[in-house]
């Protein structure tokens, strides 16, 4: 494996974990809690942030294989796509025309920025 392939693999894993964690956080945000603190201290949020922590460790590792500081945020665009798909699957969030067009602009902008 080349250095770049290792970097890509680390970042894909990191983004999959991060995207999944967003689903847990959103799940918690749809529930009612008796107190402010319970909005944070519940199984969804704690698990979600643990996963985000894992993702963060992976990303830090990724930086070590990145040729440039800039490569990491490019790979994070994968997360936007994962979250849109997962949002559709787990919360029935419609993938509207505006979301798709907006996403194309965002991805294009990021590509233009980094290439």
């Amino acid at each position: 494996m080349t250095k770049f392939q290792i970097f890509l693999l680390i970042m894909i894993c990191s983004e999959l974990v991060a995207s999944s964690s967003q689903m847990l956080l959103k799940k918690s945000a749809t529930l009612h809690y008796s107190s402010w603190i319970r909005e944070y201290l519940n199984k969804w949020v704690i698990t979600g942030y643990f996963m985000l922590f894992v993702s963060m460790l992976l990303t830090i590792r990724g930086y070590a294989y990145a040729d440039s500081y800039m490569n990491v945020p490019v790979c994070e665009t994968l997360g936007y796509i994962f979250v849109m798909i997962f949002g559709r699957i787990f919360f029935g969030e419609k993938i509207t025309r505006n979301k798709i067009i907006g996403m194309i602009f965002i991805l294009a902008g990021i590509l233009v920025f980094y290439t």
């Binding site: 967003q22 956080l25 909005e39 830090i60 800039m70 849109m84 067009i101 602009f105 233009v112 920025f113």
Partner: protein, 151 residues
């Protein structure tokens, strides 16, 4: 549209994104340090603090947005990343980068208009609030309807 996202909510989301963008700066510093040295712990610790603040705010923000929309707003990290890379890492600013950021800003604006009515929270407070006036009165008074919209 009943549940168009409010400007106030978008600005709040953008503030969170700015805070979040600082975490990648500390991550970059941390990665330059040897594992578990003082510098590593300092920068890594700082990143944890920034992410903790971000986490507290984020959990409130996603009550109001589709998760797909809230998350894609994090693309604005590009704008902040460009700023930090110039100011802190002394990278060069180019027309290309500015154009890229402009495209992302357009994309985020378009995407933020893509939330369908009644989609934001699933079964959250806003969703429940909308249904309340209906059983009380089939039509609902204009006041009741307005209240539901505000929520």
């Amino acid at each position: 549209m009943k549940k168009q996202i409010k400007v106030k909510d978008i600005l709040y989301l953008q503030l969170i994104v700015m805070i979040f963008s600082l975490s990648s700066v500390t991550a970059k510093f941390a990665s330059g340090q040897k594992f578990m040295t003082r510098g590593f712990i300092l920068f890594y610790g700082l990143e944890v603090v920034i992410l903790a603040v971000y986490a507290l705010l984020w959990q409130q923000a996603i009550k109001k947005f589709d998760i797909s929309i809230a998350y894609a707003n994090k693309a604005m990290v590009l704008l902040w990343g460009l700023l930090w890379s110039v100011v802190i890492f002394h990278d060069s600013i180019t027309v290309r980068k500015v154009f890229g950021v402009a495209l992302v800003i357009c994309g985020v604006i378009i995407l933020n208009r893509g939330q369908e009515a009644g989609q934001s929270g699933g079964k959250d407070a806003a969703g429940a609030g909308e249904k309340e006036p209906a059983p009380a009165d089939a039509g609902g008074t204009p006041e009741e309807k307005k209240e539901a919209d505000v929520r």
